[in-house]
C-alpha cells in the first residue's frame, strides 16, 4: 500500500510508491563519464589557469598559486554571483530584485585528477572538511552575506561539469527558501514542544533503528522518514548544534569519516551514481539557534522529477527509507 508521509520539519508531504518499489538495481544506469579534460585547470601545475586562490591546505613553506597544496579554494571563473559592490534592493512594480552580490568559490578537494572523494585517504578527507570550515568562517565575516551554502555536485546528471573532484561554496545576501522553510518549521515545533525537532528525530531514529545507516561518536547517518528522493540520506551531529562553524577538530575528523563512509556505501549499492550533497546550517548572525540543528543532506540522482512534483512539491519516492537504509547499512 503506498504511503503519504509528512516531513516533521517543513510539513512537506511525500508519496512513498510501494507499488513500484525500487531496489538499488532498478534505477537506470548513470551516465557518469564527464568528458575528460585534456588540460584540467584544477590539476597541480595549472594554478595560473584559475583565479587566485582564496584559501588552501598546503605546507607552510609552499607559496599560494603554486603546486604543493592538498586542498585549494579559488573563486569560480564563471560566478553566478559577484563579490564587488554593494547590495542594492529595488522594487519594480509588483516585483522585487537586488543586485547579485555574493561569493561563488570552487573548493578543489585533492590534487589527484583520478581520485574521487571516496578514494581520498583519511587525512585528505579531513583536509577537505577543515577547508569547508575555514572558508565558511572567512566568508561569514562579510556582513553583506546572510547565508553560506556548501555543496557538491558529483557526476554529470547531478550537474557537475568538471571531472576533477571539487565542491562549491556560495555566499548569499539572503536566506534561501528551503532553509527558511526548515527554520520556520523548526521554530514552530520548538514553540509547541520546547525541544529541537531534529533532536527529537534523532531519538526516534534510535528507537525505530530501521532507518539508521551508520553512526560514529559524533554523528548519525539515517534515511529520513519522509524523504523527497530515493536513497536520500542525512548526516547529523548527535548532540544539539545549530551552527556548522562551531565544530572543533575532533568532531571534524568524525564528520570526514562518516561522510566518506556514506558516500562509499552509496557508490557500492547504487553502482556509482551521480549525487548531490549540501550542508544546512543556521543563517549568519542568528546566534539563538535553540531550535535549529545543522546537517548534511545527500541525494543520489536516480530519478527525474515529473510535472506532478514540480506542480505540487509533492514528491513521489520509489524506495522506502527503511529499505534504502538496510541496503546502505548492509553494504
Amino acid at each position: 500500500m503506498p504511503e503519504l508521509r509528512r516531513d516533521p520539519v517543513v510539513g512537506r508531504w511525500v508519496i512513498i510508491d510501494t507499488e513500484h518499489t525500487k531496489g538499488p538495481s532498478d534505477f537506470p544506469k548513470s551516465d557518469n563519464t564527464p568528458t575528460r579534460q585534456a588540460i584540467c585547470p584544477f590539476c597541480p601545475g595549472r594554478e595560473y589557469q584559475t583565479p587566485n586562490e582564496v584559501g588552501a591546505v598546503r605546507p607552510s613553506h609552499s607559496l599560494a598559486n603554486t603546486p604543493g597544496w592538498l586542498v585549494r579554494t579559488v573563486p569560480n571563473k564563471f560566478p553566478v554571483l559577484s563579490c564587488g559592490g554593494f547590495l542594492q534592493k529595488e522594487g519594480y512594480g509588483v516585483y522585487d530584485q537586488m543586485t547579485g552580490i555574493g561569493a561563488h568559490e570552487v573548493l578543489i578537494e585533492n590534487p589527484d585528477h583520478d581520485k574521487a572523494l571516496v578514494d581520498l585517504t583519511k587525512d585528505e578527507m579531513q583536509a577537505v572538511i577543515s577547508q569547508y570550515q575555514e572558508r565558511f568562517r572567512q566568508l561569514s565575516r562579510d556582513s553583506r552575506f546572510k547565508y553560506i551554502m556548501i555543496f557538491k555536485n558529483f557526476g554529470s546528471s547531478a550537474g557537475a561539469t568538471v571531472e576533477h573532484t571539487h565542491s562549491q561554496i556560495i555566499a548569499l545576501p539572503m536566506v534561501p527558501k528551503t532553509v527558511l522553510e526548515e527554520l520556520k518549521g523548526a521554530e514552530y515545533y520548538y514553540q509547541q514542544h520546547g525541544r529541537c525537532v531534529f533532536c527529537d528525530m534523532i531519538s526516534q531514529e534510535y528507537q525505530d533503528k530501521e532507518r539508521i545507516v551508520m553512526e560514529n561518536n559524533s554523528f548519525l547517518a539515517f534515511c529520513p522518514y519522509a524523504p523527497r528522493y530515493a536513497f536520500e540520506t542525512w548526516i547529523i551531529p548527535k548532540g544539539h548544534s545549530p551552527d556548522f562553524a562551531e565544530r572543533d577538530g575532533a568532531i571534524s575528523a568524525h564528520l570526514a569519516q562518516i561522510l566518506q563512509d556514506v558516500l562509499i556505501k552509496v557508490k557500492k549499492v547504487l553502482a556509482d551514481p551521480s549525487y548531490n550533497y549540501y550542508l544546512h546550517t543556521v543563517p549568519l548572525g542568528q546566534a539563538n539557534g535553540a531550535h535549529y540543528h545543522w546537517h548534511i543532506e545527500i541525494i543520489p540522482k536516480l530519478t527525474r522529477s515529473v510535472g506532478f512534483e514540480w506542480g505540487t512539491g509533492l514528491h513521489i519516492v520509489p524506495t522506502f527509507p527503511q529499505e534504502a537504509a538496510r541496503f546502505l547499512r548492509e553494504s
Binding site: 503506498p2 503519504l4 509528512r6 510508491d17 564563471f78 554571483l81 515529473v306
Partner: protein
Amino acid sequence: MSELRKDPIVGRWTIVATERARRPAAFVEPQPTVTAPKNCPYCQDHAFEEVAAIDGVRVIKSGSPILDDTKVFERQDHGMYEVAHSYGSHEIVIETPEHIANMADLSEDEIKVVFQTYALRIQHHRKNPCIEYVLAYKNYGLAAGSRNIGHSRSQIMAVPVLPMRVNDKVRGAKEYFDCHERCLFCDMISQELKKKERLIVENEDFVAIAPFASRFPFETMVLPKTHHCDFADGLKDREGSLAAIMKEILLRFKIGLNDPAYNYMIQTSPVKKSSSFKDNYHWHIEVMPRLTRVAGFERGTGFYICPIPPEMTADFLKEVDIHAGT
C-alpha cells in the same frame, strides 16, 4: 552583473545569470526514438479501464497508479512522524486516438477538448470530501519524466493533502491581497501588458509571459485575463482561446527549441474552503521546457539559477517562426 529576483507569489528568489547567459541553441538535446504505433498501449481500445470519454479524448485509470481510493483515508502518527496510506486517484488523459506524440501537433479543437476534460475530471474529483487538491499536468519527453511512447497524453492526480508548493502559492497570493486588496496575478498581468518586455503572446482571453523570477530557461506562464481562482469554473467559454494560446506556445517550443521535453501544470485553487481563495487567487498554467538539470545548490536552497534572463526568453519565443515548414 547578475540579478536576484523574487517571485512575488511564493517569495522564492532566483539568480538570473546574465553574464553566463547561454544562447538558446546551447540547450538543445535530441529526443530518442519513440514506440511504434503497433506497440503503443494507448492506441489499443480495450487495454485499460475507461472512466470517461469525450469527443475522441479518453480518460483511463492509470495502469500503475501511485494513489488508490479503494481504502478509507486515515491519517496516523508514528511517533513524531505522520503517515497516511496513499489515498487518491491517478488518471491518464489520452488526448487523441491517433499516434501523435506532441500536443503541439494536435488541432486546436482537439486541445480544447483536452482542457474541457480536465475541467470535468476536476469537478468530479472534488466532490470527494477526502480530496484537497486536483492537479492536471503533462510530462512530455524523457527529460520531463515521461516514457517515450509517442502518444500524446496527460495526467490527473487527486490527492488528500494540500501539497506544499500549492500552499506556498495560495499563501503568497493571500498575503498580497491582504496588503493591497487587489489580486497579485491581476497586478502582474497589467504590469506585463504595459511593459511587454516579458510578454510572449496574448489573445482575447489569455496572456503568456516569461515570469520575472523564472527558475528555468524558457519557463512560461499562461494566465487568464479575467480573474478567477478556479480552473474548472473559470474556463467556461474560454476553452477555445486557451487551446489556441497553448498550441502556439507548444509550437514555439517545438520549432524554436528543437522539440524539447516539457512539463505543464494547471495551478488551480485548492478544493476546500474555496470561498477563501475567490478574490486573492488566480488560476494559471506553468509550462516548463526541461533543458537544464537541477544541481545540488538548487536542491539545497530552493534557490534557482536561471541561465537566461526571462526578457531574452520572451524575445526568443516571440521571434520563432511557427509557420516555417508548413
